[in-house]
Symmetry: C2
Subunit: 261 residues, 2 copies
DNA sequence: AATCAGGTTCCATTATGTGGAACAAGATGG
DNA sequence: CCATCTTGTTCCACATAATGGAACCTGATT
């Protein structure tokens, strides 16, 4: 992965954001030099971009001259989250589903080819809840992702799938567009999507699509569990409940659904 | 509040972000027209800025043509949060302080003239934890804010205070820079900051500063409680514990502290 | 002391964003 | 039912703002 894709037609803004993106996806703090390597821009230019981002509070310099995302992003995100109507409406339903199954329940939406998790309900209080909210995963190897894809118009789904770079996380990860499309058909028939250890070994889930009437928001919810505790059969037994919960959420959405309630 | 302050010297980026800011701080969804009113820009220009923001996933259009913050911000924020070293280091200490007092414990840092909350530990599990993280409050009427200000170099503190627009939230809200500076002196002497119902009636707190050696990060932690349950005297009895916790966190910070551990 | 890599500043050039005006599409109302 | 207003979108000549090369710091390293 040499250099970050620079969104071609959003000009200056796109370049700035792609700097953020590089920093966000780096596993460890990046210094100026590291950035310069990953982003194909002259040193001077990059330096100014960074300065601007810092001035705006979107980026922070650490004493050791490495960079991290700025706290202003946290502030924005808190607002984005609390204003999100889907999350708000879904919450009681997620709780109910968790009560029923005793396993972790996720709510996520498609953003391009990624799933972004909006909420999570799990038993073990020890695990910090917010740790997961806002995280993202590829759409082709998660239940929520495949559920979200399945309710897109076929051409839209294909367009997105064309952008996917299929990485084989596990033995069972779907290897290509063809396999994925086949599964989307299956999901459309049954109304349920499964992740059979396709993203992480030992973890599987059953999901169902959640979407607005106009498909401007598509995603899904899932019940996730470790294989050692919950069998495939047991998982399948929740399929109807998951679907019912998804339907209940959809029914609660205002006709003209917006991210704010 | 007619129009949003546009950061003058970050050019295009600044303008784009100020659009986000307007949307973020609006209590209800804004339509194109509302934005055009609040942002002093020609319609055409604004329209393109919005389009770019949408394309970058920083903004979303709702079916009813109102706008909300995009989910990509959530993703960025999740990373920003999980990479934040201060939060990570502070967490066990916050828990311990919560165990001791039984009341809500906050950790926040100064960002300009605002406090941004990084973490929160509270008893009532019913309240969603992440609801508060990332929220912000003015620095002049919160314990954490005043604590953070108190450890800034005097001239820096004064510079920031000069930017404050003192709004009288309650009877006891500090009315002006002079009063605030006087209190900062007091905090420097005692090592503890108080919010005596200065932000919300019926809520008070005791706080202590947390900061890096070079003061590049300053903030504080606080124990917050409703007045009806916890007396001023009781609050004061925790002052030493709060200070000790703050010291413990500072001691745990790497010498070259960066937001990442 | 000399060299080098990392980081920052400057400024002429040019690409990019700007904003006025024209256009489209609903509302409103006379 | 047509006229008019209000809201939202597109276009393009122009000016501003981003660009990137080069010069310049600074502190390691030899």
């Amino acid at each position: 992965m040499a250099s970050a894709k620079i969104s071609s037609d959003t000009g200056t803004l796109g370049k700035a954001i792609s700097v953020l993106d590089v920093i966000a996806s780096a596993p460890e703090p990046l210094r100026f030099r590291d950035l310069a390597n990953q982003i194909d821009q002259p040193r001077g230019t990059l330096h100014r971009q960074i300065s601007n981002l810092i001035e705006e509070g979107l980026l922070q310099v650490n004493p050791d001259q490495s960079y991290s995302l700025g706290l202003r992003l946290l502030k924005f995100a808190a607002q984005s989250w609390s204003q999100n109507g889907l999350r708000e409406i879904a919450e009681p339903h997620l709780r109910a589903l968790h009560e029923l199954t005793g396993e972790t329940v996720h709510l996520g939406v498609l953003q391009g080819t990624e799933v972004i998790y909006l909420d999570k309900v799990e038993s073990r209080q020890a695990v910090r809840m917010h740790s997961q909210v806002g995280n993202s995963s590829p759409c082709y190897c998660t239940g929520v992702g495949k559920a979200g894809l399945s309710v897109l118009p076929r051409d839209e789904a294909e367009a997105r799938i064309a952008q996917i770079n299929f990485h084989k996380f596990t033995e069972t990860t779907l290897p290509n567009a063809k396999a994925l499309l086949r599964e989307l058909d299956e999901i459309n028939r049954t109304g349920n999507a499964y992740d059979r250890e396709e993203h992480e070994p030992g973890i599987h889930c059953v999901a169902a699509p959640v979407f607005t009437a106009d498909r401007s928001i598509t995603g899904g919810l899932s019940v996730t569990a470790p294989c050692y505790r919950i069998s495939q059969r047991q998982l399948e037994s929740w399929a109807d409940d998951v679907r019912a919960t998804a339907q209940a959420i959809i029914a609660d959405l205002p006709v003209k659904m917006g991210p704010r309630a």
